[in-house]
């Protein structure tokens, strides 16, 4: 039976089964792990291989130059490059999370490569101290590295995205440590990386130093009886597996306070490699033997006649040899329940039922009846087991079993099977040897589809990435964008127009994609014309305009910015051109564009006065220069330094006169010119007045106010002089003088003034001035002289003379007026009755 053969491949460690399916026969040739240094990325990532320069090896038919070769996990060659870097031996090599290969050499230089074996500039350095004292060893984690120098100093780069070398605390040791391990920053209390160094010779001084940025701790002094030979920290940073001086495997907490497991290993020699397999077993590798130890029970041993390399994953260990890639993992519970020999679990019976069904045996039904009540659980186990399977035909069988069982079960979540099919399709497609990413389902879930797609496009597997993201209903923008950029980089020989068509054809697949970003990439690759063609297709002005600027298309940028109505973009272009061009050329550019010009003027009005004048002069807007000068004249007036002293208003008046002349240059501004002239004249007169009156109250008041002030001061001659100088009309003169006299309550002078001649605007000003000053007696003098009876009536009413008001109103024969007046007198019964009678009398002739 098939079941038997499946379980036959398993090994039992204590109470758990382990299996080790082959993922790939390696597609590479002539790679001998024994002669090479190797770096393998977790999550089925790529492999980097380079001849180990610390070993003496025999060169067969190959060049003496070393080559760095990159392969997928299936041994598919990805890229290679000749290694000819100075800086001494290659000390360590590792992949970061985003698949950058980090190579640390002796002098502390770090070379970085992408998956296409392109060197990423610039090279990094661990610093001067490393350069001087040589790097002896290094340890990597996700995105960081720690190096120890031959002087036993530690340096760390915590994140290659922000590569800054930090020196850790001095461990204070003379001898190099036996071995080194790191606890990732995310698992330490301080949030910084913690380095574990095994030091000491004998029982008394053996310890593990935990080195951080700001201190060193001695751990395990109580526990250790000799130095540790090899250490490795578990994935979650909690546990430390180590090999002791006397040939034992020791598993402790990572702060070395508690021993979890201690087991003899029958070998005093430390293993070459030590690795965690998941969280519950440790692998030790000597020469030709791989030993797997669990918490209890007999260890499992595997024999290898060729060198191997252990690649820890979150749920197992990949074992790489010259010829194959295997995956050692604990057999999942669901798989165990189906395939253990003699299993009678519902899932096993369901699997068996399918077998009978396929052979048209009635036993199928019998099996189903047996497990009817636990059918959902059996289906679930089958689906789960299928997910964990690498073998496609077994996946299929398990899924068929699940779907067979589901048919008889009403309350099973139907989309579980569909979902699993989806995941498996994706997994199988990336596992194919051509792609070579042997992800387990657990790894896939941890990695997330999003990152997987990122890795695929990074490896230039765009089509697969596009299909997967489409299949999973994810946004394809990131794939298409990357493709477009990669396409541009790779297509130096294709002419712009052709390449544009190729790109547009794909870019249109994705709505809302940023054409500007693609165009920016084209520009970076020196394809300015292509960039210009691409950016035309960008609908978002906010993206389009900055790019147009960066590719030197300022004029188009200005047009686009203006069209879209976003003044912020117009300013962006404006400042860009301003900085780039000569003032005159700049003026010419903006003069032609109304919005740009107005915005420039608005900004310059606030902050660049002189430059604005230059602009107006260059464009012949003399009146605007004149306004600016005129405005400056006030600023000058406010400035006490400029206005006091005897030549006092000299500079100010000069400015105004300059403005006057500029206004005079254009016919349309005669009025302004005249006004400026008058203003200058007024300032002179006001200054003289201030000198003669010794009162600083004239400057910057208006002509009318100056006249009023003169009259109030009793200086009638000066008032008349101002009047004639500025040809003040008689009308205005009368209002001003009347109110000024009323202000100082000079009623005699007022009366005299009223009799000078017949006032050109009648006696209303006199009446109003008296009423406002609350001088009834004075008002009565002038009211009778008012020509209009209505005005007379209202004036009487305002000073409370009802009878007179009524008389006047009746003269005017105005009923509406009477009504209104009556309202004003509503408190006064006698008065209001007068109005009533009058109104009655009025309405008669109106009615007849």
């Amino acid at each position: 039976m098939a079941n038997v053969s499946v379980a036959a491949e398993w090994q039992l460690l204590y109470n758990r089964y382990y299996r080790k399916p082959e993922l790939y026969p390696m597609r590479w040739r002539h790679v001998d792990l024994a002669r090479n240094k190797l770096a393998a990325a977790p999550f089925g990532g790529p492999l980097a291989v380079i001849r180990d320069d610390s070993k003496i090896v025999q060169l067969h038919a190959e060049s003496a130059l070393r080559k760095l070769r990159l392969f997928s996990s299936s041994g598919q060659p990805l890229a290679d490059t000749v290694w000819r870097h100075p800086g001494g031996r290659l000390i360590g090599m590792s992949w970061t999370d985003d698949h950058t290969l980090i190579c640390v050499v002796q002098d502390g230089t770090i070379y970085r490569y992408d998956v296409h074996a392109h060197l990423i500039e610039p090279n990094l350095s661990l610093g001067k101290e490393c350069f001087e004292s040589n790097v002896a060893d290094c340890a990597f984690w996700g995105n960081g590295v720690v190096c120890i120098t031959e002087a036993n100093q530690l340096f760390c780069i915590a994140d290659f995205k922000n590569p800054e070398s930090v020196k850790l605390a001095d461990p204070g040791i003379l001898e190099p440590p036996r071995c080194m391990a790191v606890i990732e920053p995310q698992y330490t209390i301080s949030g910084n990386v913690e380095v574990l160094l095994s030091v000491g010779e004998g029982e008394e001084d053996a310890a593990v130093l935990a080195v951080e940025e700001d201190g060193v701790q001695r751990l395990g002094v109580e526990m250790l009886r000799g130095p540790l030979q090899k250490m490795v920290v578990s994935r979650d940073g909690k546990w430390l597996a180590s090999f002791t001086h006397d040939g034992k495997l020791l598993v402790t907490t990572s702060d070395l306070t508690e021993i979890i497991i201690e087991r003899e290993c029958e070998s005093a020699l430390p293993p070459e490699q030590l690795a965690w397999c998941g969280m519950d077993a440790v692998l030790l590798y000597w020469d030709d033997m791989l030993l797997m130890m669990g918490p209890d029970g007999e260890p499992v041993s595997y024999l290898y006649d060729e060198p191997i390399f252990l690649i820890p994953e979150c749920d197992g260990v990949r074992i790489l040899s010259n010829t194959s890639m295997e995956f050692l993992q604990r057999v999942p519970d669901s798989t165990v329940s189906i395939f253990t020999i003699g299993s009678t679990s519902p899932a096993a019976l369901l699997y068996d039922a399918l077998d009978h069904f396929d052979r048209r045996s009635a036993k199928a039904d019998e099996n189903l009846r047996l497990i009817r009540s636990s059918l959902p659980e059996a289906v679930e186990a089958s689906v789960d087991a299928a997910g964990h399977e690498f073998d496609v035909s077994r996946q299929r069988t398990l899924l068929r079993a699940a779907s067979y069982g589901q048919a008889f079960c009403s309350n099973f979540q139907r989309d579980r099977i569909q979902e699993m099919c989806k995941i498996l399709r994706v997994l199988n497609s990336v596992r194919s040897p051509e792609i070579g990413i042997p992800l387990s389902i657990q790894q896939y879930k941890l990695l997330t589809p999003y990152v997987l797609i990122g890795r695929l496009i990074n490896a230039h597997q765009h089509l697969l990435a596009l299909r997967i993201s489409e299949y999973l209903g994810m946004n394809q923008e990131v794939v298409i964008m990357h493709w477009a950029c990669a396409k541009i980089t790779a297509s130096l020989a294709i002419p712009d127009a052709t390449l544009l068509d190729i790109l547009l054809d794909k870019l249109k697949l994705c709505k809302g994609i940023s054409y500007a970003a693609v165009a920016a990439h084209a520009d970076k690759n020196g394809r300015r014309k292509l960039a210009a063609l691409l950016v035309e297709h960008e609908p978002r002005s906010s993206k389009q305009v900055p790019l147009l600027l960066s590719i030197g298309e300022e004029d188009i940028a200005l047009i686009k910015a203006t069209e879209c109505g976003d003044t912020d973009l117009v300013y962006l272009v404006l400042f860009h051109i301003w900085q780039k061009r000569q003032p005159l050329e700049f003026f010419g550019t903006i003069q032609a564009r109304a919005l740009a010009r107005e915005l420039f003027v608005t900004y310059a009005r606030c902050y660049k006065h002189e430059f604005l004048k230059d602009f107006f002069l260059s464009t012949g807007q003399l009146q605007d220069v004149a306004f600016l000068l005129w405005k400056e004249s006030w600023a000058l007036g406010k400035n006490p330094m400029a206005s006091k002293g005897s030549p006092l208003h000299g500079p100010r008046i000069k400015l105004i006169e300059k403005a006057q002349n500029l206004f005079a240059e254009t016919k349309e501004h005669t009025f302004e010119s005249k006004a400026a002239e008058e203003h200058a004249k007024l300032l002179r007169i006001q200054h003289e007045l201030e000198v003669t009156t010794k009162q600083a109250i004239f400057v910057d008041s208006s002509i009318s106010d100056t006249i009023r002030t003169c009259i109030v001061l009793g200086n009638h001659r000066a008032a008349t002089k101002v009047k004639t100088e500025f040809k003040v009309s008689e009308k205005r003169w009368y209002w001003l003088k009347v109110f000024a006299l009323a202000t100082i309550k000079d009623w005699v002078a007022l009366e005299k003034f009223s009799k000078e001649k017949k006032p050109p605007i009648g006696y209303r000003p006199f009446v109003e001035a008296c009423i406002e000053a609350n001088e009834k007696g004075e008002a009565i003098k002038y009211i009778p002289k008012l020509a209009d009876p209505r005005e007379r009536a209202e004036s009487y009413a305002r000073i409370g003379m009802a009878k007179e008001a009524a008389d006047a109103a009746s003269q005017a024969k105005d009923g509406e007026l009477l009504g209104r007046l009556k309202l004003t007198f509503s408190q006064n019964a006698a008065a209001s009755s007068i109005f009533d009678t009058l109104r009655d009398r009025l309405s008669f002739p109106g009615a007849s």
């Binding site: 109505g565 300013y571 208006s702």
Partner: protein, 596 residues
């Protein structure tokens, strides 16, 4: 006193908009950890008081200051500037930071721009060498709900910037604000616009939809059916006339600032001599809601009735024996007593202004100018105002009204008035006059006036208005129907087509379109001109029309729109958005520029 208006009865979910703005502001405060000094530009502060209580700002560790020319005085080491992206405000920030530097104070500075950071402001920070010292952020406040049917973009300078400076930044802002509404309430299918700025806003709005589309398939029926955009430039007559509605008068004389007026406590009958008190004015006040849009004459009568009936009830209460339920009713009525008292106080205060002969004279003159029959009388009246040196804004209001209704003044008279103004008020006002001329508000006559035609065809002057039971919007100005609202009335009823000839007489182009995926809908075919096949929202509510005033709107106009909306024949609910609520004076003040 709670100033934040109650928006529960709004036809749109405005509460959500306000809550979003609250959240974003709190987020900023949380982002800057610990104690900080929050320096707000004063005008923005006014707007924010409609969004969030100052107490909740303080809860998040903010010490509040107003931005001014004076350096910020605080013990906090973190200073957060929350400012509108305006050039002149940058100067204050820079000088304050420079002051700290020269005093050896080390502080962390944050500048949050409202509604977004701009290149030009950052340029100023760069030039003043403070850009590297500040962390820059954005507070995307594009719209502030003033009341359950009024939104404000809080762009008080919009009109002046567009017409005088040629700076159209505010138009982008308006379009962005509408577009943001569309993200919440769906793409607005119908657009009608009149005026240069409005047509531009419609254009930018379409671009935004193309660049950053609102997914219309997400929302079955858009909540807003139509947007009507109207330039202030199209109707400058209305805001210059004295408003005669209750709320309009309050604004004219007491200046309503963001939904409240500030006046002497003694006027409100409070025993605090010399102190000022703030009176909130929004729909949360039920009595105000009832009377705000009525002609002031009527308001006085209503208040008198209410007071009398209250008094009657009280007398009944003291004289005869009452059942418990009667008592209950009476107590319920008593609850409205504070509101009645408040408005009686306000109305009484207003009467002191409205009964002045100068005000009556001014009203009289406004009507004479609008009638446009007696040119010389108007001329003489304005001339006399200048000679008497009446307040400049009062003079300019009438002068501009006069100029607009005559399409400008003959050159000789234009120059005469300008000269008299400069002589009477000072030469520094040349800048104001220049601004007004640029904006076309006070200018030389360049064509024959078509005001009479406009007035006649749109029936702007209505005789015999019954202010108590109005049948037309003309009641808000006691006989003059605001031109802007007449246009809106037409736009809602029948679209632009029937009034096209009249529209051509008014400044700026006009536009009428259907947008987005809606152009294919069957109703499009029947649209042509006589459209408004009323799209009923399924749940029985009336469809919504958003009326946007680019350049400001007056309370009287809002009242007129509410009046329209309350008519039975009206198929829509109206919601009003404006760059700012204005009146003749505040609008003119934006144009005033003293060189001195």
């Amino acid at each position: 006193m709670a100033q934040i208006p109650n928006l529960d009865n709004a036809p749109l979910n405005l509460t959500a908009i306000r809550e979003q703005s609250q959240k974003e502001l709190i987020h900023i405060l949380k982002h800057v950890r610990g104690k900080k000094c929050l320096v707000i530009d004063p005008k923005l502060g006014d707007s924010l008081s409609l969004i969030i209580q100052t107490s909740s700002l303080k809860e998040h560790g903010a010490e509040l200051r107003h931005l001014s020319a004076e350096p910020v005085q605080t013990d906090c080491t973190k200073v957060v500037y929350l400012v509108r992206a305006q050039l002149k405000l940058m100067r204050f920030i820079c000088s304050s930071i420079h002051n700290d530097v020269s005093n050896g104070l080390q502080r962390e500075y944050y500048v949050y721009f409202v509604p977004r950071r701009t290149v030009v402001c950052e340029k100023v920070l760069e030039e003043e060498k403070v850009h590297h010292m500040v962390t820059i952020g954005e507070y995307p406040l594009y719209v502030v709900p003033l009341d359950e049917d009024v939104l404000s973009f809080e762009l008080d300078l919009s009109y002046k910037e567009c017409e005088v400076d040629g700076d159209t930044s505010s138009l982008w802002h308006i379009a962005k604000a509408i577009h943001k509404l569309e993200f919440s309430f769906g793409v607005i299918p119908n657009v009608r616009a009149k005026g240069r700025a409005s047509v531009r806003v419609a254009d930018i709005l379409n671009r935004m939809q193309a660049e950053e589309p609102v997914n219309s398939s997400d929302m079955a029926v858009p909540e807003i059916n139509t947007v009507i955009l109207l330039d202030r430039e199209v109707d400058m007559v209305t805001p210059l006339c004295s408003q005669l509605t209750y709320e309009g008068l309050l604004d004219e004389f007491l200046h309503i600032n963001n939904g409240s007026v500030e006046l002497d406590a003694s006027i409100m009958g409070l025993q605090q001599e010399g102190k000022k008190t703030k009176v909130p004015l929004n729909s949360s006040d039920k009595l105000l809601k009832e009377i705000r849009d009525l002609n002031f004459e009527v308001v006085v009568q209503i208040l008198r009735q209410k007071a009398t009936s209250m008094k009657q009830d009280y007398t009944d209460m003291t004289t005869t024996t009452q059942t418990v339920s009667d008592l209950k009713d009476f107590v319920k009525k008593l609850n409205s007593l504070p509101e009645i008292t408040r408005h009686i106080n306000l109305a009484q205060h207003l009467s002191t202004f409205t009964s002045k002969p100068s005000f009556l004279g001014q009203l009289d003159m406004e009507h004479t100018i609008i009638e446009a029959q007696s040119y010389d009388i108007c001329f003489d009246y304005i001339e006399e105002l200048i000679h008497k040196q009446e307040p400049l804004t009062t003079v300019l209001r009438l002068l501009i009204l006069f100029s607009i209704t005559n399409s400008g003044l003959p050159k000789k008279q234009f120059d005469y008035f300008r000269r008299e103004l400069l002589h009477s008020y000072g030469f520094e006002h040349i800048a104001t006059l220049n601004n007004l001329e640029k904006a076309g508000l006070f200018k030389k006559q360049d064509s024959k006036s078509n005001w009479l035609t406009i007035k006649r065809t749109l029936q702007l002057v209505v005789e015999d208005v019954d202010t108590a039971n109005p049948s037309d919007i003309a009641y808000v100005f006691s006989g003059y129907a605001p031109l802007s609202i007449r246009l809106v009335q037409h736009a809602i009823r029948s679209g632009w087509r029937p009034v096209e000839e009249t529209l051509k007489l008014l400044p700026g182009p006009h536009l009428e379109t259907r947008r987005g995926g809606f152009s294919n809908s069957p109703s499009f075919d029947t649209l042509s001109g006589v459209s408004t096949s009323i799209a009923k929202v399924p749940d029985g509510r009336r469809a919504l029309v958003l009326v946007v005033f680019v350049g400001g709107v007056t309370f009287a106009e809002i009242s007129a729109l509410r009046f329209l909306s309350s008519q039975e024949s009206m198929a829509y609910d109206l919601i009003i958005a404006t760059t700012k609520i204005v009146n003749g004076q505040t609008l003119l003040e934006t144009f005033m520029e003293k060189l001195g």
